[in-house]
C-alpha cells in the first residue's frame, strides 16, 4: 500500500510536470479546438456522445477519427477500413524510427509513449530541449499524457456543447477535408519528389470514374502499383 502511494507521488513529480505542461501548451490550443469540432460532429451526425469519449481514448488519432465517422455513415467494409486506416497512419512508422533511441530506456512508460505518439506529440518531443535536471522518460510521459488529456477534453466538450445547443452544423464535416488539405500542403513542402502527388491525383480521378463506392481501394492500390513501377525514376529524381 505505501509502496503504491510512493509510486503515485513519484508519478506526480511537479519539477518535471511544470516544464512538460509549458511545452504542451501549443498542442493544448490545437487539440482542444480540433477535438471540439470532432465531438460536435459526432453528436450532430447522430452518434451517441460517448463515442466522443471512447474514440479519443482508444484510437487517439485525429485524422483517423474523423475518417472513422465517414466510414460509419458510408457503411464501409472492414477490409477497406483496415487498409485505409493502415495507410493513413503509415506515417507513424516513420515517427517511431526517430524515437527509437529516445524511448529506449523508458521502461514501464514505453507502451503508453508508443501508443500516444501522435503527429503533434512527435513534433514537440523531437524539437524540445529538456533541461538537464529533469528525468527524460517522465518528461516524455507527462507531455504525451497531457496531450491526450487535451484531446479527450476537447472531444467531450464538443459532444456536450452539440447536445445542449441545437445549432445548424450542416457543413461542419468540411473540417475533415480542410484537415487533409493542410496535411497535404505540409507534405508537399517537405517532400523531395513531387511525382507521387501527380500519380495519386491521376489515380484518384480514374478511381472516381471507375467506382465511387470502391474509389479508396482502387486509387490506393493503383497509385502504389504505379509508384512501385516508377520507383527508379522517382529515386533518381530525389538525388538530383
Amino acid at each position: 500500500m505505501t509502496e503504491c502511494k510512493n509510486h503515485f507521488y513519484k508519478l506526480l513529480d511537479s519539477i518535471t510536470l511544470k516544464p512538460a505542461f509549458i511545452t504542451s501548451i501549443p498542442v493544448m490550443t490545437g487539440y482542444c479546438s480540433v477535438g471540439f469540432a470532432f465531438g460536435l460532429l459526432v453528436v450532430s451526425t447522430g452518434y451517441p456522445w460517448f463515442l466522443a469519449l471512447i474514440m479519443p481514448l482508444f484510437i487517439y488519432a485525429g485524422a483517423a477519427q474523423f475518417l472513422a465517422l465517414s466510414f460509419f455513415t458510408n457503411n464501409t467494409s472492414f477490409v477497406e477500413i483496415i487498409i485505409t486506416t493502415f495507410l493513413l497512419n503509415a506515417r507513424h512508422m516513420v515517427y517511431g524510427i526517430s524515437m527509437l533511441n529516445k524511448y529506449k530506456h523508458a521502461s514501464h512508460f514505453k507502451p503508453y509513449l508508443i501508443f500516444s505518439l501522435t503527429d503533434e506529440t512527435y513534433a514537440i518531443l523531437t524539437s524540445v530541449k529538456i533541461p538537464d535536471n529533469i528525468n527524460n522518460k517522465r518528461f516524455y510521459f507527462y507531455v504525451s499524457f497531457l496531450n491526450q488529456l487535451y484531446w479527450i477534453m476537447g472531444c467531450i466538450c464538443g459532444a456536450f456543447f452539440g447536445n445542449i445547443f441545437a445549432f445548424n452544423t450542416k457543413g461542419l464535416d468540411f473540417a475533415l477535408t480542410a484537415l487533409f488539405v493542410v496535411i497535404l500542403i505540409d507534405q508537399y513542402k517537405t517532400s523531395t519528389s513531387k511525382i507521387p502527388f501527380a500519380i495519386a491525383f491521376i489515380c484518384s480521378v480514374i478511381a472516381y470514374f471507375l467506382s465511387i463506392k470502391y474509389m479508396l481501394l482502387i486509387s490506393i492500390f493503383l497509385s502504389m502499383a504505379i509508384l512501385f513501377f516508377f520507383r527508379r525514376f522517382i529515386t533518381n529524381n530525389d538525388s538530383r
Binding site: L87, L179, S191, F201, L227
Partner: protein, 108 residues
C-alpha cells in the same frame, strides 16, 4: 452502420493505429533498408492527396452549385496555410466559410 459494427470498427481502427506506431519499435531495431525508406517517404503524400479527392466524391459537378463552395473553401484553406502556416487557423477558416456558404443560401 449498426452499433455493433461501429464498436468493432473502433476496435479495429484503434488496434491498427497502435500497430503503425509500434511497428518500428518491434521490427526496425536497425536502420531500415532503402526500399522501406522509399515507400515510407512517398506513401503518406499519396494517401493524403487521395483522401482529399475522396472527401470531394459526393459533389455533383454538373448540378448547381457545381462544387463551387468546396473549391472556394479549399482555396481559402490552402492560401491561409501557405501564407500563415497555422493549421488550426486554416482548418477553422475554411470550415466556417463552408458552413456559411451552404447554410446561408448565397450559393444555392
Amino acid at each position: 452502420m449498426t452499433h455493433a459494427k461501429i464498436y468493432i470498427a473502433i476496435g479495429i481502427i484503434g488496434v491498427i493505429t497502435f500497430f503503425t506506431r509500434l511497428f518500428p519499435f518491434v521490427f526496425l531495431k536497425k536502420n531500415p533498408g532503402p526500399a522501406i525508406e522509399f515507400f515510407e517517404k512517398n506513401i503518406p503524400p499519396m494517401i493524403m492527396l487521395i483522401l482529399v479527392v475522396y472527401c470531394l466524391k459526393e459533389i455533383n459537378w454538373v448540378v448547381v452549385p457545381f462544387g463551387i463552395p468546396e473549391i472556394l473553401c479549399i482555396i481559402l484553406t490552402s492560401i491561409l496555410h501557405i501564407w500563415k502556416g497555422n493549421s488550426i487557423l486554416s482548418i477553422f477558416s475554411g470550415t466556417i466559410l463552408y458552413m456559411l456558404l451552404i447554410q446561408s443560401g448565397i450559393i444555392i
